[in-house]
C-alpha cells in the first residue's frame, strides 16, 4: 500500500513537472535603451532627416548579446513610451528563462530582461443562463440620454474583433494585429468584449453597447486557442506591443479583459499610460490570490463579476453573468466572466470621460467606487452604481435625481 502511494506520488510529481515544463517560458524579452533623438553625423549635411540609425545599433547589440549567451533573436519592437527597444530572444537548449534573465540583467548593455510570460482571457465556456440584459441594471438608456462615449477612444487589447456583426459594423475605428505578421483575424472573445463596449444602439438588432459612440481600437494581442471556445492566450510581448500602440494613439481608456503573472515590462507601460491619465480597466481573476495582473497593478481599475469571491475593497463589481453580446458573424449569445464585467466598466469609463474630459484618476476612482451610507469607504467590494457615477461626474440629474442621491448607500437594480 505504501509502495502504491509512493508510486502515485512520484507519478503525480512527474506530471506536475511535465506540466510546468510545458508552460515554462521558452523566450525572454530583452530591453535595450534607445537614446533620445539627437544630432547625427549626416544631419544638416545631407537630406537624411528621418533616418533612425540607432535602431541598427541596438540590433547589433542584441545579436552580440544573443551570441554571447547562447540565445537567438527572433523579433523586436520599439517601445518609445519607455525609451526602449524590446527584443525577443529564444532560449538555447537546456537553458531556463530564469538563468537567461539573471545573466542578461547583469550585463551593462541591457536595461532589463524578463521571461516572455503567458496571459489568458477571463471568459467562461458555459454561458447558457436565462436571458437577463445587464444593460438594464445600469439604466443604460437613461445614461445614453446624456453620454454615449462620443470623442472617447478605447483600446481593446484582446483577441480579434469581427466587424461583420451588424452591431459592430462601423463601430471599430481601427484593427491592428500584434500577434503575428499575418492578417487580422476575427475571434470570439475579442468580438464579445467589443460588443459590450460599443455595440450599435438603436439599430433594431442585437444589443446596445455601454458606450456606442466611442471609437474602439481593436488591438489583437491575444489569439483564440480553439475554434469553438473563446479561451484565448496572450503573452508579454504581444501585449506590450499593443499597449505601446495605444499610448501612441493617445486613447483615453484601455480595456484589459485578461490576466496573468506580474510582468515588469507591462507594469512600466501601464505606469506610462497612467501618467498620461489613461483609464485602465483590468479583469479580476478569481483563481489568483491577488486578482491577477494587470488588475492587481496600482492605478488599474480592477473589475470582478458580481458573484466574485474576491474580498479586496478596491475591486469594482459589475454584472458578469448572462450578458448578451455579439459574436462573429450575425450572431449573439450570452456570456459570463470577469472579462465582460471589465468591458462594461470600460464603456462606463468612456461615458464619464466624455462628460468630464479632464477628469483626474482620483475623481474617476471616487465616482466609480461606492461608499457606505455614511459616506465611508467600503471595506469590501461593492457593485458599481453607474447612475450615481454619471451623476457625480456630470453634476446632472440622471436615472431620477432622488434615486441618484439615495444611491450612495446601495446600488440601484
Amino acid at each position: 500500500m505504501t509502495r502504491i502511494g509512493l508510486l502515485a506520488t512520484v507519478w503525480l510529481g512527474a506530471c506536475i513537472a511535465m506540466n510546468v515544463q510545458a508552460h515554462a517560458p521558452t523566450q525572454v524579452l530583452v530591453m535595450l535603451r534607445a537614446a533620445a533623438p539627437h544630432l547625427r553625423a549626416a544631419d544638416g549635411y545631407a537630406v537624411s532627416y528621418a533616418a533612425s540609425p540607432g535602431e541598427n545599433a541596438r540590433l547589433h547589440t542584441a545579436h552580440e548579446l544573443a551570441q554571447h549567451y547562447g540565445l537567438q533573436v527572433v523579433d523586436n519592437w520599439p517601445m518609445p513610451a519607455l525609451g526602449l527597444d524590446c527584443f525577443v530572444m529564444r532560449l538555447g537548449p537546456g537553458m531556463t528563462a530564469s538563468d537567461a534573465v539573471r545573466w542578461l540583467s547583469h550585463d551593462a548593455r541591457v536595461e532589463s530582461a524578463q521571461p516572455r510570460q503567458t496571459f489568458h482571457t477571463l471568459a467562461n465556456d458555459d454561458p447558457l443562463y436565462a436571458l437577463q440584459p445587464t444593460a438594464s441594471a445600469w439604466h443604460l438608456a437613461e445614461l445614453h440620454a446624456i453620454a454615449t462615449g462620443r470623442h472617447v477612444a478605447i483600446a481593446e487589447v484582446d483577441s480579434g474583433v469581427d466587424t461583420s456583426n451588424p452591431d459592430l459594423a462601423g463601430q471599430v475605428a481601427e484593427q491592428r494585429n500584434f500577434v503575428d505578421d499575418g492578417a487580422y483575424r476575427a475571434e470570439l472573445h475579442g468580438t464579445e468584449v467589443a460588443g459590450i463596449i460599443v455595440a450599435r444602439a438603436g439599430n433594431g438588432v442585437g444589443i446596445a453597447g455601454v458606450a456606442p459612440q466611442a471609437r474602439l481600437l481593436a488591438l489583437r494581442a491575444c489569439w483564440q486557442l480553439a475554434d469553438d471556445s473563446p479561451a484565448s492566450a496572450c503573452d508579454s510581448f504581444t501585449l506590450a506591443k499593443a499597449l505601446q500602440y495605444a499610448l501612441e494613439k493617445h486613447v483615453q481608456v484601455i480595456n484589459l479583459s485578461l490576466s496573468g503573472p506580474d510582468d515588469r515590462l507591462l507594469q512600466r507601460l501601464l505606469d506610462a499610460a497612467l501618467a498620461q491619465r489613461i483609464t485602465i480597466v483590468g479583469a479580476v481573476d478569481d483563481n489568483a490570490a491577488d486578482g491577477g495582473f494587470p488588475a492587481s497593478h496600482k492605478g488599474v481599475l480592477a473589475v470582478a463579476g458580481e458573484h466574485s469571491i474576491t474580498q479586496a475593497s478596491e475591486v469594482l463589481l459589475a454584472p458578469a453573468e448572462d450578458v448578451p453580446t455579439t459574436q462573429p458573424g450575425a450572431r449573439w449569445n450570452l456570456v459570463k466572466g470577469a472579462s465582460f464585467a471589465a468591458a462594461e466598466v470600460s464603456g462606463l469609463a468612456a461615458l464619464l470621460r466624455e462628460l468630464a474630459p479632464d477628469i483626474t484618476p482620483t475623481q474617476l476612482h471616487d465616482a466609480l467606487h461606492a461608499r457606505t451610507a455614511l459616506g465611508l469607504v467600503a471595506m469590501r467590494p461593492m457593485t458599481i452604481d453607474a447612475c450615481a457615477a454619471v451623476a457625480q461626474v456630470s453634476h446632472r440629474c440622471t436615472c431620477g435625481c432622488a434615486a441618484a442621491h439615495a444611491s450612495l448607500g446601495a446600488p440601484r437594480r
Binding site: 537614446a35 549635411y45 537630406v47 537624411s48 532627416y49 540609425p53 545599433a57
Partner: protein
C-alpha cells in the same frame, strides 16, 4: 592630424563595449549643406558613424565626405559630441559641439555649438559658430526638421533653416540673412534608405556667408540619396 584620429579611434574602441554603434555609407547626387552645394553641384560619397551611450545620455560620431572646394576635390571630415536628456516619452533636449574641416583647405575649418529639442518627429536646433567657415565672422543658424510616416516604409520629410551672419556685410551689399528649405519623400527598407528631395535657398549669397562654393553654384536642386546602414 593622423595622431588625433588614431587617439580618437582608440578611445572610441575602449568605450565601444557599452556603446551602441552604427555606421552608414551614402551616395548623394548633390552634397547640400544649409542650401549651399559643397560638391559643386556634383555627386558625393559619404561615410558616417554614430555611437550612443544611452544609459548616460552622451553620444558622439563623425563623418567623411567627398567635396569640391574652390573647384578642387577635397575631403571633409567632421566630428561631434553631445548630451541628450529625455524629459518624457515624446520630449527631449540636447546640446553639443561639432567641428569640421576640409583637407587641403584648412582655412575653412570651424567649430560650432548647438542646442535643441525633439518632440516626437519634430526636431528644432540652434547652432552658433564664432568663426563660420573660418570667414572671420560668427553665424547663428536655426532649423526645424520634421518627418511623417506614410504608407508602408515610405515617409515624408521637411526642413526649414534660417541663418544670420554676424559682422559687416557692407562689402557684399547684400543681406546678412539666408533661409533654406527642403522637402521630399523617402523609403526605408533596412538596411537601405532612399530619399528624394527638393532643396532651395534664398537670401545672402554663398560668398557673403563664407561658403567655399563655386561662384555659379545653383540655389535650387533635386537631391537623391542612397544610404546603406550597418
Amino acid at each position: 592630424m593622423l595622431r588625433i584620429v588614431v587617439a580618437i579611434l582608440v578611445a572610441f574602441m575602449a568605450l565601444q563595449a557599452r556603446a551602441q554603434v552604427t555606421g552608414s555609407a551614402s551616395f548623394v547626387s548633390d552634397y547640400r549643406f544649409r542650401g549651399a552645394s559643397l560638391s559643386d553641384d556634383r555627386p558625393a560619397a559619404q561615410l558616417a558613424f554614430d555611437a550612443d551611450w544611452p544609459s548616460t545620455g552622451w553620444y558622439a560620431g563623425g563623418m567623411m565626405s567627398s567635396a569640391r572646394i574652390d573647384s578642387h576635390p577635397a575631403v571633409q571630415m567632421l566630428g561631434y559630441a553631445g548630451y541628450v536628456h529625455r524629459l518624457g516619452a515624446d520630449l527631449s533636449w540636447e546640446a553639443g559641439l561639432r567641428y569640421t574641416r576640409l583637407t587641403g583647405r584648412e582655412a575653412y575649418a570651424y567649430a560650432e555649438a548647438y542646442t535643441g529639442f525633439a518632440f516626437r518627429q519634430l526636431v528644432g536646433r540652434i547652432y552658433y559658430a564664432p568663426n563660420y567657415f573660418h570667414a572671420g565672422s560668427g553665424a547663428w543658424y536655426a532649423e526645424l526638421n520634421d518627418s511623417h510616416a506614410l504608407a508602408g516604409n515610405w515617409y515624408a520629410f521637411a526642413h526649414a533653416g534660417y541663418l544670420r551672419r554676424n559682422g559687416d556685410v557692407a562689402e557684399y551689399h547684400v543681406s546678412r540673412f539666408r533661409s533654406d528649405l527642403s522637402a521630399g519623400i523617402g523609403v526605408a527598407v533596412q538596411p537601405w534608405n532612399i530619399q528624394l528631395g527638393w532643396t532651395t535657398a534664398h537670401g545672402a549669397p554663398d560668398a557673403a556667408l563664407g561658403y567655399p562654393t563655386a561662384a555659379d553654384s545653383r540655389r535650387n536642386a533635386w537631391v537623391l540619396s542612397l544610404a546603406y546602414a550597418w
